[in-house]
């Protein structure tokens, strides 16, 4: 899949878009930020280059104009303005479309965007440049006459080893205009040190051409990141007077610009590119599967070693145990991605929403370096979009209302991530109006989600907003209020084996915390036996284990509650629930599990111990078995099902509700 060059380009392009976008959004905060201006320019430049290389002509020529615009900003000829940045942001969306479906059907849109861009660049030149820039494929350069340039070209030593043909470059340069080429042999080593594989020559070229600087640079498009290229304009006999004034007029004669690798690639490629390897995710998944099987095989080996009792065998087994454990940990780290890559998407969303709603919003992010399994990150994107939209649409007030309530006119939405044990906590916070509990309750009753007058805890009431069909927005906006969305959040988080809790203070703001396990592939579990089968309870959910004596069991028949330090905890007899048809053990155990604030006891026959669990998903044929989130293979080759604590707690809760209703 990754071998498809177009696919490679698309991947690269999406990374570039991210870079460009984050640069642009930073610029909105500080229009004079040189680093960001450079970053955006670099991104656009690379995009144009690779676009052309992979045959996306439409993209290349369109991007070229944006690049030119930013080049002017970079050189200080045109100030960076909000209008310009917005125009480029819009243009960027269009570039994505050009990559998605290249073709002439985009031309009209291209033209329209370029007009906006041009207007943003400063109306002064608009009269002459309006139509011209838009349609032309080439830069509106010095048409008025030819310019003489002086080029100093120095390729990296290993250029030829990398397949660059210097002669080809020089020939191409000859095609650009009239050339006078002299070789610079100053760095030529003496014969003894001469390595025939290295390139020791540099060249001085005097080039007379009508074409623009960027077209000269284009000759070196493929090597420009690693080479030194100096392009200097020589004083001309006939400097065209009053040139178009759009910035590409000949620069003052002495301006020397070095497009050296060091400067261009300080943050991007350079040192980092060599150290990183891109690997398709499915290969990682395969590797993960193998590691999982290894872990299983290892637990068989150690069981065997223990039963045979041979010291040497046990030594080997312990070594393999350590190694496979380390391998597993390394493997897990490989799949970890910083949350920052997820958060950065929201800056654009917030920017757009802010325009759409007329609210001034500041997005604060924290803990971007927290790492989470890649699959988890991907699955989190949608729920987070819903939550952020919701915070902006329902939570934040308009500027006037905020001022009236004694808040600053800018609403703050903050996204943060922290790691807590085996979980990552992602929190979405706003300082808006908070959740109006009466309204939530009224809506819940109207929608039939709650019995009128039912006693509910605050958390239960707040959780109502995640029920399907629930929406408190009085009017449906473009953003939210259709009653879909928040239940999607709940579902996705459940699927990720995570939990949601909400805190909200009326008038002050709300906070939603998502607790998600760091990885989906391996969990620590508590292995238990119920009847003849073994099951795994995720250790993260286990609070404590108690003994349930026979007398207590008999006494609690019919009510299924145990008292645990002054509070009553409902429990489920898994033997009954799973219909094992076996007799209860004399000493049953009760495992107390919890999700957030809800607790439930699970009565099992035996607690076997800790178990590193490689999660295997179950087929669709077992989609009704919703008490289980997956299965795992034990050391002896048997299969144990992994309990879905959320589902079991729900069952426990509904049982509790039934009991309450009966009393």
């Amino acid at each position: 899949m990754m071998n498809d060059p177009i696919q490679v380009f698309r991947t690269e392009a999406s990374e570039l878009f991210e870079q460009i976008e984050s640069g642009l959004l930073d610029l909105l905060h500080d229009l004079s930020d040189r680093d960001q201006i450079d970053a955006v320019f670099r991104g656009l430049h690379t995009l144009k280059g690779s676009g052309a290389m992979f045959g996306f002509e439409g993209l290349a020529s369109f991007t070229h104009h944006c690049e030119t615009a930013f080049d002017q900003v970079r050189k200080g000829e045109v100030p960076a303005t909000e209008a310009l940045v917005s125009a480029i942001l819009n243009a960027q969306d269009h570039m994505k479309a050009l990559i998605e479906s290249p073709g002439p059907h985009h031309d009209a849109q291209s033209e329209r965007l370029l007009l906006t861009l041009n207007a943003a660049l400063g109306g002064s030149s608009s009269a002459s440049a309006d139509g011209q820039i838009a349609i032309e494929g080439k830069a509106p350069s010095t048409k008025t006459g030819s310019t003489t340039w002086r080029l100093k070209i120095r390729l990296p030593k290993n250029a030829m080893a990398n397949g660059t043909n210097p002669l080809g470059l020089l020939n191409e340069l000859r095609g650009v205009g009239e050339c006078e080429i002299t070789a610079d042999r100053t760095s030529f080593p003496d014969f003894l040190n001469l390595s025939p594989l290295d390139l020791h020559l540099a060249w001085d070229v005097t080039l007379t051409t009508e074409r623009s600087r960027s077209e000269i640079e284009d000759v070196f498009m493929f090597v420009i990141d690693d080479m030194q290229l100096e392009i200097q304009e020589l004083p001309m006999r006939s400097v065209p007077a009053g040139a178009v004034g759009d910035g590409s007029a000949p620069r003052p004669p002495q301006s020397v610009e070095t497009v050296a690798a060091g400067k261009l690639t300080d943050t991007k490629s350079g040192s980092k590119a060599g150290d990183n390897v891109k690997v398709p995710a499915e290969r990682l998944d395969e590797l993960m599967d193998r590691v999982g099987e290894l872990v299983i095989a290892q637990s068989r080996l150690s069981q065997l070693a223990a039963s045979i009792g041979n010291g040497q065998l046990r030594d080997v087994s312990e070594d393999v145990d350590r190694l496979s454990g380390e391998l597993r940990d390394t493997m897990m780290v490989l799949r970890m991605v910083p949350v920052g890559s997820l958060f950065s998407r929201f800056r654009r969303l917030v920017h757009d929403l802010s325009r759409e709603t007329g609210k001034t919003i500041e997005l604060q992010t924290d803990g971007e370096s927290t790492e989470v399994d890649k699959t988890v990150i991907e699955r989190l994107a949608d729920p987070l979009v819903h939550l952020v939209r919701n915070a902006i649409d329902h939570g934040l007030e308009g500027p006037e209302e905020r001022l009236r309530n004694g808040k600053s006119s800018t609403g703050i939405v903050s996204l943060s991530a922290t790691q807590a044990g085996g979980e990552v906590v992602i929190s979405i916070k706003d300082d808006g109006r908070g959740i109006n509990r009466e309204r939530v309750r009224a809506k819940g009753e109207a929608a039939g989600l709650v019995q009128p007058g039912a006693v509910m805890s605050d958390q239960e009431l707040l959780q109502l907003i995640f029920k399907p069909g629930f929406s408190t927005a009085e009017k449906i906006t473009n953003l939210s209020g259709r009653g879909v969305g928040m239940d999607v959040v709940r579902r996705t988080i459940d699927e990720l084996r995570g939990t949601i809790d909400i805190r909200s203070e009326f008038g002050v703001g709300s906070e939603v915390n998502l607790r998600i396990p760091l990885t989906l592939a391996i969990i620590d579990g508590l292995l238990v036996r119920v009847g003849d089968s073994r099951y795994v309870i995720p250790l993260s959910a286990v609070e404590e284990c108690l003994e349930l004596s026979l007398e207590e069991d008999i006494r609690s028949r019919g009510r299924s509650f145990i008292s645990l330090r002054d509070s009553l905890v409902p429990f489920l007899r898994l033997r009954d629930l799973f219909a094992t048809g076996t007799e209860p053990e004399l000493h049953q155990k009760c495992v107390i599990v919890s999700t957030g604030n809800e607790r439930v006891g699970l009565v099992v026959d035996q607690i076997i111990g800790d178990h590193q669990t490689v999660i295997k998903s179950m087929s669709k044929l077992h989609s009704t078995a919703d008490m289980f989130s997956g299965a795992t293979i034990l050391g002896d080759g048997g299969v144990a099902l992994i309990m879905d604590v959320n589902q079991l707690v729900l069952r426990g809760q509904s049982k509790e509700a039934l009991m309450r209703a009966a009393v």
């Binding site: 599967d289 999982g292 099987e293 299983i296 089968s533 629930l577 799973f578 219909a579 295997k616 998903s617 179950m618 087929s619 669709k620 044929l621 077992h622 989609s623 009704t624 078995a625 919703d626 008490m627 289980f628 997956g630 299965a631 795992t632 293979i633 080759g637 048997g638 299969v639 144990a640 099902l641």
Partner: protein, 171 residues
């Protein structure tokens, strides 16, 4: 002579060929056949793990080379008597399409016979009367000597059972 059959819609069992290689196996003294192409492996009986809350027809899973796959007893789907496994019992691992996903499924068999060529010309559509079992679960019958071999319609069985389970067949 087979013009009627030939004009019917594309057939998963008899694609273009007039003959298929089929694996014969036995369930409650009836002979069934599966296209050998979908058969991945034949396993000795191994410990199965019951999945509470799953449809009775696929109520357990087994460990097939490090994968957890469902184990189906198509007897239950057909409404036949369940049976304890014997020394001849085997699990046949096949690949079937379950709502668009190629899924490995183990199928219980009382006894596995040989792989043999079955010819389309010997096949007969399921008679609409006189069948003890659900007609739509049977793809066709093939006459072989004095007996009939049942070719089950796996697509229908698994799709249907899934639909049923969607309505909540659970305990």
């Amino acid at each position: 002579m087979t013009s009627v059959l030939e004009t019917s819609r594309p057939d998963p069992i008899w694609p273009e060929a007039q003959q298929i290689e089929a694996l014969l196996f036995e369930l409650n003294r009836e002979t069934f056949a599966l296209n050998a192409k979908v058969v991945q492996e034949i396993l000795d009986v191994m410990p199965e793990t019951r999945v509470p809350g799953s449809p009775s027809f696929v109520n357990s899973v087994i460990n097939f080379r490090g994968k957890v796959i469902p184990l189906a007893d198509i007897r239950i789907a057909f409404g036949m008597e369940p049976r304890e496994s014997s020394i001849d019992s085997r699990f046949i691992v096949i690949e079937v399409d379950v709502s668009g996903e190629a899924t490995l499924v183990g199928v219980k068999a009382d006894k596995v016979h040989e792989v043999t060529a079955l010819s389309r010309t010997d096949s007969e559509p399921t008679p609409s009367v006189g069948m003890r079992w659900r007609q739509d679960y049977i793809h066709c019958l093939v006459k072989r000597g004095s007996e009939f071999i049942i070719i089950p319609n796996l697509q229908a069985i698994f799709a249907h059972e899934e639909r049923l389970s969607g309505n909540g067949i659970s305990d």
